[in-house]
C-alpha cells in the first residue's frame, strides 16, 4: 500500500501526475466520461455539454487571474467574440475544427489589446479596465447589427464533421470534451513550464519577476491572450451547441460567474477550474431540481422554495470562502492526502 507521495527531485515534483495510481485513476475517469453519451440520459449529456463549455472558459480565466493574477471581468465578452466569429466562419463554409481555433485566435487578438493596460495598472484598477472592455464589446454585440444580428442575435449553422452533422447533445458532446481535454492538458502543461512559472512570478511580485528577467509586458499580455483564447473557443462551442444565440447571453453576470467559479474551485489550478465549473453549474441545478420535486408534493411552497435555492447556493459559496479560501481543489487535496497517509493523520 502507498503511503504519501515522495518527490526525489524537482522534475518529479513538476510531473503532471504525482503517482502511477493518480495517472490510472485519471485515465479511468476520462474513459468513463467519454462513454457518458452511451449510457447517460439526454438530460445528463446536455448538462455535461453545458458544464464542458463553461469549464473551458473557466480554465482560461484561471490562467489569466489564477496564475498571472490579472483580474478579468470580460471573460463573457470574449466568449461572445468567439461565438459571433464562428457564426461567420460557419457561413463562409469553414469547418468547425478550424473555426474554433480561429475564433479563439480572434478573441486572443482582442484580448491582447485589452491586456495592454496591464503594464500600467494592476489589481482593481486593471479589473475596471477589463470591465470597460466588457461594456464596449457588449455594446458592439447589441449595436453592430450587420455583424452580430443586433439584439435578435445570430443563427449558427450546425457543425459538420466529414458529412456528419453535429446536431444534438450526444453528437456535440465529443467535440466539446475533446476541446476540454486538449485545453485542459495545455493549461496543466503551461503551469509547469517557464511560461507558467513566469505567470506566477508576475502574480506574486511583478517587480521581483522583472529583476529576475521576466518580460512583464510580454507575460501579462500573453496571460490575457491565453485566457481570451480559451473564452473564444468556449464561445464558439456555445454557438455550435445552441445553434442560435443573442447578445443577452454574454452578460456581466456571466463574467462574475466565472470569477466565482475559479475562487470556489481554486485559483491557479486546472483541478480548481474543473471543480469550480462543476460546482457552479450543478449545485444550482440540483437545488432547483430538489425545489421542483418538493414543490410538486407541496405546490403552495413552490414560490418559496425556488428562490430559496438561490439563497442556499449563495450561502454555500460564502461557507466555502470562509472555511476553505483555497477552494475545492484544496479540499480535494486534503481528502487525497488523508487517504494516502491513512492510518496516520496529516
Amino acid at each position: 500500500m502507498r503511503t504519501g507521495v515522495f518527490f526525489e527531485n524537482y522534475g518529479a515534483e513538476e510531473q503532471l501526475w504525482d503517482s502511477q495510481t493518480a495517472k490510472t485513476m485519471m485515465a479511468v475517469f476520462v474513459v468513463a466520461l467519454y462513454l457518458l453519451p452511451l449510457w447517460g440520459s439526454d438530460y445528463m449529456v446536455a448538462m455535461a455539454c453545458i458544464v464542458g463549455i463553461h469549464l473551458i472558459a473557466v480554465m482560461g480565466l484561471n490562467i489569466t487571474t489564477g496564475s498571472a493574477g490579472l483580474i478579468s471581468l470580460s471573460q463573457a465578452a470574449f466568449m461572445g467574440v468567439g461565438c459571433y466569429a464562428v457564426s461567420w466562419f460557419a457561413r463562409w463554409g469553414i469547418p468547425f475544427w478550424l473555426a474554433l481555433p480561429m475564433a479563439g485566435l480572434l478573441a486572443a487578438l482582442i484580448g491582447m489589446v485589452v491586456g495592454l493596460p496591464s503594464l500600467r495598472v494592476k489589481g482593481m484598477y486593471f479589473a475596471i479596465a477589463t470591465l470597460a472592455a466588457h461594456f464596449v464589446l457588449s455594446f458592439l454585440f447589441r449595436e453592430w447589427t450587420p455583424v452580430t444580428g443586433g439584439p435578435g442575435g445570430v443563427n449558427i449553422p450546425a457543425a459538420n464533421f466529414f458529412g456528419i452533422e453535429l446536431v444534438g447533445d450526444h453528437r456535440m458532446f465529443y467535440p466539446i470534451y475533446i476541446c476540454v481535454l486538449l485545453l485542459g492538458l495545455a493549461a496543466a502543461n503551461i503551469t509547469r513550464s517557464y511560461v507558467g512559472r513566469a505567470f506566477i512570478a508576475v502574480r506574486d511580485r511583478d517587480i521581483s519577476a522583472e529583476i529576475l528577467g521576466v518580460n512583464l509586458l510580454r507575460y501579462k499580455v500573453l496571460a490575457f491572450m491565453l485566457g481570451s483564447f480559451y473564452a473564444g473557443v468556449a464561445g464558439g462551442l456555445l454557438g455550435y451547441f445552441y445553434g442560435a444565440i443573442t447578445a443577452e447571453y454574454f452578460t456581466f453576470g456571466l463574467s462574475v460567474f466565472y470569477v466565482a467559479a475559479i475562487i470556489v474551485g481554486g485559483l491557479g489550478r486546472v483541478l480548481g477550474s474543473v471543480l469550480g465549473a462543476v460546482f457552479m453549474t450543478f449545485v444550482p441545478e440540483s437545488l432547483r431540481l430538489m425545489s421542483s420535486a418538493l414543490s410538486g408534493s407541496i405546490p403552495s411552497l413552490a414560490n418559496l422554495l425556488l428562490p430559496m435555492g438561490q439563497v442556499v447556493f449563495g450561502i454555500l459559496i460564502i461557507i466555502f470562502l470562509i472555511f476553505e479560501p483555497r477552494g475545492l481543489a484544496q479540499m480535494w487535496a486534503r481528502v487525497r492526502r488523508a487517504f494516502h497517509l491513512w492510518p496516520f493523520r496529516t
Partner: protein, 399 residues
Amino acid sequence: MTRNRRQVLKTAGATALLGASAWRPAFAKDKADIVIGAAHPMTGFMSFAGVASNYAMGDYINWRNQSGGVLGHKIRYVGEDSAYKVDQGVAVVKKMIASEKPSFIFLDGSPLSKAVARDVLATGTVMTGGFSSSEALLDQTLYPHHFLSGPTFGATCQILMEYIGRIAKASGNVPKIALVTSDQEWGTESNFHLKARAEKLGLPIVQDIVTKPTGVDVTSEVAKLRRSKPDIVIFQGYIMNPVPEFVRQMREAGINAQVMSTTYGVDRIMYDALAKNGERLTGVMPYRYGYDTDSKMMTTMREYVAKVRPQQESISLFYIHAWLTGMIFCEVAERCIKANKNLTLPNMKAALESIKDWDTGGLTGLLADLSTHQIKSGRVYSYDPASKRMEPASGWIRV
C-alpha cells in the same frame, strides 16, 4: 345462402367503411394524457412574469381538466423554473423532453426559444409558444414549431401609429412624436416599425432616444426631449422603470406630451405607477384587461382565480398571455384528435394554421386568426382616473 356479386360488394364496402371509421391513431385510442411543459422565469429579475404565467398555465389546465380535458384526454402540466437564463432554460427543456415527452412547451422568451429550436425540431412532436413577441420567431424555416399568442412587437406599434394617425386626421393637427426605446429586442424591433409606420402615415418623429432597459440617466434624455418639444412620447421596451421617473422629469421640464406605450408597457404595474403622479397612460393592449366584464373567458378566469387563489389582487397581462397560450395548445390538440391525427409537428402545425375566426372567449376582442402563427390584433386603451383603470379608447384594430 348464396349472395350475388352486388351483395358481396355491398358487404365488403360496408365492412371497409366501418373499419376505417373504427381506426384511430394510437394516441386517440388510448385516451393518453396530453402533456404541456413550461419553462417559466419563476426566479430572477423576470419572476413577476414567471410566477404569474406558471399560475396561469396551471389554472387553465386544471379548469380545462375539470371541464373534461381535451375530448376526454386529460392534460398533464409540468412547469419548471428557467430563471430567464438560457443555460437553465435549455436544461429544463431538455430534461422535460427526455422525461415527460410533452407535446407543447411554453418558453420564457426569445433567447430560450431560439436556443432550444434545434432540439425541439429534432423531436418532431413538440410545438412551442411563449412570452416572446419577436417577429424573428415567425421565420418558418427556423421556427416552424413556434407561434406567438398575440401580435409581434412591430404589429402593436403599427396599431398604435394607426390610432395616432386617425386622431390626427380627425383633429387636423399632426402631432410631433418622440420615441424612447430600450436597446433590447423589444425596443429595437418596435423602434423600426414605429418609424416605418410614422413615415407611411406622414407623422413626424422629432426625437429618437435609445436607452438601456434599466439604470438610465433620465436627466440627459429629458433634456433632449425638451429641445424637440414633442406632443406624444412613446415608451417602448420597458415594463415599468425608468418610465415614471422619466415622465416626472418631463413635466418638471415643461413637456406636456401625451405618454404612450404598448403590450407589456401598459400593464397594471405601469399605469398604476404613472397614475400616482397624476399621469394618464395610453397604449395598445393585445388582450382585454383582467377586469373586463365583456369577455366570457375573462369572467371564467376571474372566477377561477377567486376560487383557488383569493389573495391574488389582479390578473396581469402575463397571466392572460399564458392562459391564452394554454388555450391555443389545447385547441391545436383538439383539432388533431378530431381529425384522427397523432400529435406530430406537421399535424400540429397544420392544425395551428387552420385556426381562423377562432373564438378565444373574448380575450382577444376579435376572432383570432393563427394562420400566420400570431394574432395580429389589439386595441388602444387610455387610463381613466375615475375608474382607476385603462378604458377602451378605440375599437379592436387588426393589422
